[in-house]
C-alpha cells in the first residue's frame, strides 16, 4: 500500500536525513541549538523596527527570569511568589555600580547575579523548612517588603527618580534598541544553555527527586536541604540578571518597577508557558510582553470607553489564567508536546519513522496523591 504523496515525505524517508543526529552530549547539543537560535534571532532583529527590537529584548530578559523560576518551581517544586524582589536586588546592584563606579559592564551584570544570589541564599535557607503554601506566603511578603526599603533610604537608592542605567555604546551605526536587544538575547541564550545543561545533569535529577518525594530522596542519599538552597540561589541569580536587564530597558531603576504584580505575573507566565520547561519560557515571555497590548487593541476594536477598556486587559489576563489552569495545565509547551506526539503518530501511520520526543526537563508540579511519571 503506497502512502499518499505528502510533501517532504521523501525527505523524511531518506536514509541520509534520518541519519543526521545532533551530538548526544548535552552541552554540545544545547550549544548548537543555541547557535541556531542566535542566527535566527539575528536575522529577525535586523529586519525589525527599533520598537520591535526593544520588545524582543524585553522578551529575552523575561525568559531569563522565567527560566530561573521554572527551575525553582517546576523542577524543584518550591513555589515562589517573590521573584520580583530578586529582580529588584539585581537591578539596584547594577544601577548602584553604574552610578558610583566605572566598572566593566560585564562585571556590573555579574554583580546583579551575585547580589540576587546572596538574597536567594538568605531566603532559601529558611525556605527549606517550608511546604507549598507556607513558602508561597513568605515569598509573597518578600516581594512586598523589599522595594519600600529603597524608598526609605532614598538618598542612596535614588528615590522616585531612581538610579540611571547606562547601556554601553552601540558599535558603528547599530541603533541602540537593537544593540540592547542583542545584549539581552545573548544573556538569555547563555542562561538557557547553562540551565538546560544543568537540568540534564545529576543536579537536574536531584532537583526532580527532591520535588517528587523528599523522604525517598533523602533515603537515597541526597542532601535535601542543600539541593533546595542551591535551586533557590540559581533561580534568584537568574532573576537578578533579568532585573539588571529590566533596568537597562527602562533607563532608570526605581521601586515603581517592582510591584507585587510583577512577581505574580512572572509565576503566571511561567505556568502558562509550561511549568518546568525551558522552551516554554519563551512563550511565557511573549505573553507577558504582548498580552496587555493585544487586550488594549482588542478593546479599541470594540470601542469601549477608556475606563472599561483599561481594565479589560486585567480581566482577560485573569480569565486566561483560570481557563488555562483548568483546561490546559501543562501550558503552551505542554500543548506543543502533545501536538508533536499526535504528529508522530500520524507520521508513523504513513510509514515515516519520525523522531520520538526526547524527555525534556519538564513535568508538572506533583501533588502528594499523584502517580509519578518517570524522570
Amino acid at each position: 500500500m503506497t502512502p499518499p504523496a505528502v510533501p517532504g515525505l521523501a525527505l523524511g524517508r531518506a536514509r541520509w536525513f534520518r541519519r543526521l543526529r545532533l551530538p548526544t552530549q548535552p552541552l554540545a547539543r544545547h550549544m548548537i541549538l543555541a547557535l541556531c537560535g542566535a542566527a535566527v534571532l539575528y536575522v529577525v532583529t535586523s529586519s525589525l523596527s527599533p520598537y520591535n527590537d526593544f520588545e524582543v529584548g524585553e522578551i529575552a530578559l523575561y525568559v531569563i527570569a522565567l527560566s530561573g523560576l521554572s527551575l525553582l518551581t517546576g523542577v524543584n517544586g518550591q513555589i515562589s511568589l517573590g521573584h520580583g524582589a530578586f529582580m529588584a536586588v539585581g537591578a539596584y546592584a547594577t544601577a548602584l555600580l553604574m552610578t558610583h563606579t566605572h566598572l566593566n559592564f560585564l562585571l556590573e551584570l555579574l554583580a546583579s547575579i551575585g547580589a540576587a544570589a546572596i538574597l536567594g541564599l538568605v531566603i532559601g535557607i529558611p525556605a527549606t523548612r517550608l511546604k507549598g503554601p507556607y513558602l508561597a506566603g513568605m515569598t509573597l511578603l518578600l516581594a512586598l517588603a523589599l522595594p519600600p526599603i529603597a524608598d526609605k533610604w532614598s538618598t542612596t537608592f535614588g528615590g522616585d527618580q531612581g538610579l540611571t542605567t547606562t547601556v554601553p555604546a552601540a558599535p558603528g551605526t547599530t541603533n541602540p534598541e537593537e544593540w540592547l536587544a542583542w545584549i539581552q538575547i545573548m544573556g538569555a541564550l547563555i542562561v538557557v544553555v547553562l540551565l538546560a545543561n544543568l537540568l540534564r545533569s545529576r543536579f537536574g535529577r536531584t532537583f526532580r527527586a527532591v520535588r517528587d518525594d523528599e523522604i525517598a530522596a533523602s533515603l537515597a542519599g541526597i542532601h535535601v536541604a542543600r539541593t533546595k538552597v542551591i535551586a533557590f540561589v540559581i533561580s534568584a541569580g537568574c532573576a537578578g540578571l533579568a532585573g539588571a536587564f529590566l533596568g537597562l530597558s527602562t533607563g532608570v531603576v526605581n521601586t515603581g518597577e517592582f510591584p507585587l504584580t510583577l512577581s505574580i505575573q512572572l509565576l503566571a507566565a511561567m505556568v502558562l508557558g509550561g511549568t518546568g520547561t525551558l522552551m516554554g519560557m519563551w512563550w511565557g515571555a511573549v505573553l507577558l510582553v504582548y498580552l496587555p497590548q493585544w487586550s488594549t487593541s482588542l478593546s479599541g476594536d470594540f470601542n469601549l470607553g477608556s475606563g472599561a477598556s483599561a481594565y479589560l486587559a486585567t480581566i482577560i489576563f485573569g480569565v486566561v489564567l483560570i481557563v488555562a489552569m483548568i483546561a490546559a495545565p501543562t501550558g503552551i509547551q505542554g500543548g506543543l508536546r502533545w501536538a508533536w506526539g499526535r504528529i508522530s503518530v500520524f507520521g508513523s501511520r504513513l510509514g515515516v519513522s519520525t523522531p520520538s520526543v526526547s524527555e525534556g526537563p519538564g513535568a508538572t508540579l506533583h501533588g502528594p496523591d499523584q502517580v509519578r511519571n518517570s524522570g
Partner: protein, 292 residues
Amino acid sequence: MGLFVNITLDGLANGMIFAALALALVLIFRATRIVNFAQGAMGMITTFIASSLLGRGVAYWWAFLAVLAIGFVLGALVERVLIRPLQGKSELNPVIVTIGLLVVLEGVAGTIYGNSSRGFPAAYSQSGLTVGHTKIAFSHFDVFILVSVLVLMIATLVLFRATSLGLRMRASAFSGEISRLLGVRVGLLLTLGWALAGVAGSLAGLLVAPTSSFSPYFMDLVLVYAFTAAVIGGLESPVGALIGGLITGLSISYVGGYLGSGLQPLGALVLLMVALMARPEGIFARPPARRV
C-alpha cells in the same frame, strides 16, 4: 505612654480584621488544602455590592446581612466551578487559578465601579471611646469589630467541635476517600467549607472598608497580612487564625508606629520567618507525623 496605648489598640483592631480573613483562609485550607489568594478580592466585591445597595437606600443592616449571604453563595460558586476541576492535580494550579480570580474580580470591580473615590460607612460610630478624660483610639466600631469576629470564631469552633455537620466536615478534609465510603457527602461539605469562608471574607470586607481607601485594591494588603496571620497560627486552626491575627496586627502596628509605615511588610516578613523557623507548621498545628 499614650502613644503606646493608642498604637496597641490600633494593632488589636487591625489584628481582629486579619483574624477574620485568616479564618476564611483556614476554613478553605482545611477543606481543600488550597490557599485562596482571591479571598480578599471576594470580600472586596461583596463590599462593593453592599455599597451599591446602600446607594439605593437599603438600610445598613439589611445590606450587611444580604452581603454576608452573597458571600456564602459566591464562595460555594467558586468552589464548584473553579476549584472542583482541579482536585487531585498539581498544587500549583489552584494557586494560579485563585490568582486569576483575584485579577478578574479587581478588573470587574474597576470596570463597574470605576476609579472614583468613595467611602463606606461603618456600622457604628468611629469616634473614640472616652476613658478617663482622654479619647482612646478605640471606638464603638472597633468594639463591634472585636465582638463580630469573636462571634464568628466561636461559631466556627462550635460548628467543628460540637455538631455532627462539623464532624463530617473535618472527616472529609482529613480523609476524603474513607469519608465517602462511610456515606459522607464529601463534595457538598467541601463546598460548604468554601461558602462559610465566603461569609468570613465578606465580613472582613465590611469591617475594613470604612477605614480604607475604598478602591478595587483595598483588600490586597489585608489579604497578605491575613495570610501571614493564618500561616503563623497554623493553616488548619481557627484559634490559630485568631491568635496569629492578633500577633500580626500588633507587630505591624508597632513597626509602623516606631519604625515607619513603609517597613511594615518587612516587619511581617521577619515575624513570619521567625515563627516558621520555630514551628514550620504554625503555632497551633498538630505536629506533623512523617510517613516513610
